[in-house]
C-alpha cells in the first residue's frame, strides 16, 4: 500500500494559535476583572483599615497647688510606681503639674489639665465661673435647670484638710494671752498698729490663706462675720480700715512654703506672725532639730476658713474613659487607709474620719502646736463675685510699694542673657497690677545710670517698657555703687507708708565700685531704723558672686536667689508677688 502523501495540514497550528489567543484573552479579561475587583475593594468606604493599636500609656494631667508639693509629688510617684492598668490593659499614669491658683484656673479651663487639686475649693468655683463665662450664650441662668448650673468641675473628693491659722512664735502668742485667751484678728491688728516692731505678713490673695486673711480684714472692717456684700468691699470706711491694717504688713510674698522656709532659717527675727494653714505649723514643729523656736497655731476667734485640698475631675467633652479610670484609681489610692495615715504624718487632717486625731502619735496635737478641737467657727464664704471684689479691694487697699529695679548691663550680659532679662523685667511690670505702685530703673556697667526715676506706674509704665527694650550691655560691673545709689534714692523719699524695696540682678563679680561691701552693709543696717528697705538679689548664671549678694540681702531682711537663662523670667514673676 502506497503511503498516501499529504501536504502538512494547517489546522493543528491554527488550533494552537486560536487556543493561545483564547487563553491570552481569558487571562487578560481575568486580569482586568481582578484589577477592577481589587480596586473596588480599595474603595475608602469599604476598605478594612488596620485599627491603630491603642496607646500603651494613658496620662492624666493633674494640676496641683505648690503648698503641698512634697507630699503630693511623693504620692503621685508612688501611685505611678504601682503600675496600675486600665480595664483595657493601658498603663495609667498621673502627670502632676505644679500651678499657682491663677495658672491652675487657666489650665483647667483651657483643657491643659484634666484634673486639679488646688489648696481650696474656692478655686473650683472660680474654674466653673471662668468656664461658664467662656461658654455663655447670653441666656438667663434660670432658663434651664440642667444646662446652666453644671460647670466644668465634676466629681470632687477631699483627701486632706487643714484650717487656716495665725502662726505665731510661742512667746509672741503667750504675750497676747495664748493659750488661755482666744486670740482674734482684731487682737493681731491692734498689736500690729500699736507695736512698731511687730512684724506680720500674709500671702497675696492668690493663695487660699492669703485670701482668707484679706477676707477676714474686710469682715472686720464691715463689722460682720457673715453676709459680706460687694457694696461692703467698696465702702470707703471698710477700705480705709483694710488699708490701715495692710500698712502694718511687713511685705507679702509668693506663698506659704517660702515664708516657712525663711521662718526656719531666720527664726523670730523674720516675722512675729504669719497666716498659713495649720499643716505648716505642725510640719515645722515636727522637724524640731535646728529650729529657732516653736510655732503655735492660733485659730482666730471670729472664725477661719479651711483649705480642703479637693481632688476634682474636669468634665471636658474630650475626657477619655481611661483618664476617668485613672482619676478614680488615684482617688481611691488617696483615700486608702495607709495613704491617709501618711497624710496625717505630713500634718494634714485626713479626710478619712476613721483616722483618729486624738491618738498619741497624731500630729494634730498641742505637742505640735495644734488643737484638734479647733476651729470652733468659720467665716462665711461669700459668693465668687464678692470674693473677686475682695481681691480687687485688696489691690487698692494693700500696702503700696516703692521698688527700684537695679539691672546689670555690663559686657558679660550681652546676647541672650540680656534679652531674657528684658523679657523678665517686662513680665515683672505686667504682674504689678496697680498703677499706684512706684517703680524706678537703674542700670549699671562701668558706671551707674538712673534710667527712670522712681514714680507711679501711671506715669512711667510706658517709659519703663521702652527703656527696658532699649537696654544694651557693655563695660564692667559697678554692683555695689548701683545698690548704694538705689538705696539712697529710697532713703531720700523717706516714705514709711510704703514697702521700700530694691530688686538687684547681676551676672558677674563686682569689679568697679567705689563703695566697699562693708560700707554698703553698714549703711543698709544703719538705715533700718529710719526707713526699712528690703533688698532682693538675683545671681544670674554661674559667675554671679552669691556670697556677696547674700550679705547685701541679709543686711535688709531680703533674700538672694540664683537665676538662669531658663528661670529668670519666673524668678522676677515670683518677686513681683512681694509687692
Amino acid at each position: 500500500m502506497a503511503k498516501k502523501l499529504s501536504t502538512p495540514r494547517p489546522q493543528p497550528r491554527g488550533m494552537f494559535i486560536g487556543l493561545g489567543c483564547g487563553l491570552l484573552g481569558l487571562l487578560t479579561v481575568c486580569g482586568v476583572l481582578g484589577a477592577v475587583f481589587y480596586l473596588g475593594l480599595r474603595d475608602p468606604s469599604t476598605v478594612q483599615r488596620p485599627t491603630p493599636a491603642p496607646a500603651q500609656v494613658s496620662v492624666l494631667r493633674l494640676g496641683y497647688s505648690p503648698d503641698k508639693e512634697a507630699l503630693f509629688t511623693d504620692l503621685v510617684a508612688k501611685f505611678n510606681a504601682q503600675g496600675r492598668k486600665s480595664d483595657e490593659g493601658q498603663d495609667l499614669r498621673i502627670e502632676a503639674v505644679r500651678l499657682d491658683a491663677e495658672a491652675l484656673v487657666k489650665a483647667a479651663v483651657s483643657g491643659d489639665v484634666q484634673a486639679v487639686s488646688p489648696d481650696s475649693s474656692v478655686w473650683l468655683d472660680q474654674i466653673d465661673r471662668a468656664w461658664s463665662q467662656g461658654r455663655s450664650t447670653g441666656g438667663t441662668p434660670a432658663a434651664s435647670i440642667g444646662q446652666s448650673q453644671s460647670g466644668l468641675v465634676g466629681e470632687t473628693r477631699r483627701y486632706a484638710t487643714s484650717p487656716v491659722v495665725l502662726a505665731m512664735w510661742e512667746p509672741v502668742a503667750k504675750s497676747m494671752g495664748y493659750p488661755e485667751k482666744t486670740i482674734g484678728w482684731d487682737d493681731l491688728l491692734q498689736r500690729a498698729q500699736s507695736d512698731a516692731n511687730f512684724k506680720w505678713s500674709h500671702p497675696s490673695t492668690t493663695s487660699a490663706s492669703g485670701l482668707l486673711a484679706t477676707l477676714a480684714e474686710f469682715y472686720a472692717g464691715a463689722g460682720k462675720t457673715r453676709g459680706l456684700t460687694e457694696a461692703d468691699t467698696q465702702s470707703k470706711a471698710v477700705l480705709d480700715y483694710v488699708s490701715k491694717i495692710e500698712k502694718t504688713v511687713r511685705y507679702y510674698g509668693e506663698g506659704e512654703l517660702a515664708v516657712m522656709d525663711r521662718a526656719r532659717r531666720e527664726g523670730p527675727s523674720f516675722l512675729d506672725a504669719f497666716v498659713v494653714q495649720e499643716q505648716m505649723v505642725v510640719s515645722f514643729n515636727q522637724q524640731q532639730k535646728g529650729n529657732p523656736g516653736r510655732l503655735v497655731a492660733v485659730y482666730p476667734r471670729e472664725g477661719t476658713l479651711w483649705v480642703d485640698h479637693p481632688l476634682a475631675l474636669l468634665e471636658h467633652p474630650n475626657l477619655t474613659p481611661t483618664q476617668r479610670q485613672t482619676f478614680s484609681r488615684f482617688r481611691d489610692y488617696l483615700l486608702d487607709p495607709g495613704v491617709q495615715q501618711r497624710i496625717l504624718q505630713a500634718g494634714y487632717r485626713p479626710a478619712d474620719l476613721n483616722v483618729r486625731l486624738d491618738t498619741p502619735d497624731s500630729l494634730i496635737s498641742a505637742a505640735y502646736g495644734a488643737d484638734p478641737r479647733q476651729p470652733q467657727t468659720a467665716l462665711q464664704v461669700p459668693p465668687g463675685t464678692v470674693l473677686d471684689a475682695v481681691r480687687t479691694g485688696w489691690l487698692t487697699a494693700k500696702r503700696r510699694t516703692n521698688v527700684i529695679l537695679v539691672v546689670d548691663t555690663s559686657g558679660s550680659m550681652q546676647g541672650q542673657k540680656l534679652n531674657n532679662v528684658k523679657d523678665a523685667l517686662s513680665e515683672f511690670l505686667r504682674q504689678v497690677p496697680s498703677q499706684e505702685e512706684r517703680v524706678g530703673l537703674i542700670e549699671f556697667g562701668t558706671g551707674v545710670k538712673t534710667e527712670i526715676p522712681l514714680a507711679p506706674l501711671s506715669q512711667n509704665r510706658a517709659r519703663l517698657d521702652t527703656t527696658i527694650r532699649g537696654l544694651s550691655a557693655s563695660g564692667e560691673t559697678a554692683l555695689l555703687d548701683a545698690v548704694a545709689v538705689a538705696y539712697r534714692s529710697l532713703q531720700d523719699t523717706n516714705d514709711r507708708e510704703r514697702i521700700n524695696a530694691i530688686v538687684v540682678m547681676t551676672d558677674g563679680l563686682e569689679n568697679r565700685s567705689r563703695t566697699s561691701l562693708n560700707q554698703l552693709v553698714r549703711d543698709l543696717q544703719a538705715g533700718k531704723e529710719r526707713l526699712p528697705v528690703v533688698v532682693f538679689c538675683i545671681g544670674y548664671g554661674n559667675d554671679a558672686d552669691l556670697p556677696k549678694l547674700e550679705q547685701i540681702s541679709a543686711a535688709t531682711g531680703g533674700q538672694t536667689r540664683r537665676g538662669s537663662l531658663e528661670t529668670i523670667r519666673d524668678l522676677y514673676k515670683i518677686l513681683s508677688t512681694y509687692f
Binding site: 470632687t156 474620719l353 483618729r356 464664704v381
Partner: protein, 396 residues
Amino acid sequence: MNRTRLIFFAVLLVAVAIVGVSVLTRQFQTTSAIPQPVAPKTVEVRVVTALPVEPWVQEAARDFNASPAAKIENSAIKVTIIPMDGLTAMGQFERGDMNPVATAWIPDSRYLVELSNAAFKEKFGRDVFLTDGEYRARPIAISLFSWGIYESRANVLRKKYGSIDWKTIHDAAIAKGGWPELGGDPQWGYFKLVVPNPRRNVGGLQAMVAAAGEYYGKTDITVADVTNPDFQKWLKELMGAVTDFSSLGSYTAENIALFGYSTGDGGQLLESDLLVNMQGIQTRWADPLNIVYPKYLTWFDFPFTIWVGPETTALEKNAALEFQRYLLRPEVQAKAISRGLRPANSDVAIPNESLFAKWQAQGATTVVPRTTAMRSPSRDVLLALLRFYDLQVAQR
C-alpha cells in the same frame, strides 16, 4: 475543527469566564456589604451614678461583672460606673456633652428624670427616659432627708424653742447676737446652717421644697407660693445662715463630718450620709450628731433609668436592665442597707443589726413617725426656686 470553530469556542469560553467571574464577584460583594449580626464578646454598660449611692453601686458592679449574672445572649456584660452628681449629669445629657452617652443613669431623684424628659420633649418631642414599660425608671434605694445637728447645739435650741424644725432654724439663723443670744457658747459664733448649693446638688432644692412645705403647712407647693414676697424674705433670712455655697458646699454631710461644727451647726441632710458619717463625726469631733426627722418629709429614690435614645443598642439596654435587676436582688439590697440606705425592694426588711439600730440613740429609726410626705414639685416650681436662689441668695 476549523479555525473559525476554534475562535468561536475561545470567545464562548471567554464570555462564560467573564459571566462566571462577574457573578462570583457580585456574590462576594453582596455578602460583604451586609454584615451578618454577630453578638459582641462583651456588652458595655455605662451607668452614670449619683454620688450618694456610688460606693454601693460601684461595689455591686464589681460583684456583678464577676458573677454568672453578667451574661446576655452569650455575651458577657461589663458594667462601668461613672460617678457624677445628678445635676452635672443632667446638664451633660442636655448639652450632648456625654460622650459616649451613658447606657443608664441613676440620678438622686426622679425629679431629675422628669426634668430631663421635659427638656428633651421641648427639643425632640420625645422622652429619653421612660416612665413606664420595660425600661421604666425603677428606684434602687431610698434615703430620707433628716435634720443632722450637733448635740450641744440641738440641746440649746430645744431648750429655747422646744423642737427642731425649719421655724426654729430660721429664728436661730436671724439671731443677730449668734449663739450667745440663743443661750449657747460664745465660741460657737453665729448659727451656721448647712444647705447644699442647689445649683450643684439637688439636695439644696429638696431642702428649699421642705422648708416651703413647713412654711405653708402643706405638701403641694406652687409657683405662687415660691414667688410670695413674704416667703422669699423668710427663705432669704434662712439661707443667710449658710456658711458656704461654693464648691465646698456640694457635699454637705461630708462637710459636716470633715469640718465639724466650725462650718455647720446642723442642716437637713441625706439620712444615709449622716448614718455613714456618724462614727467618723464621733471620732473626729467630741460632740455627737443628733438625727431628727422633719414633719414634712422629702427623700431621694435613686431611680435606675435607661437611656432610650438611638445611641445605644437594644442589647446594651437589655444588659443595663440585667444590672438593674441585680441591684434589686435581696442580697445586693442588704449591702445598700449596710451603707445607711433604705431598700427599694419591698421584700427586703431592714435587719435588727444595721446603722439605723446602731445610731438609734442619736435619733435614727427605721419607721419614721407622724410625717407628711411632700409631693414632687413641678418643673416650674423648681425653676422658680432656682431663680430665687440665683437672685436672692447667690448674689447676697
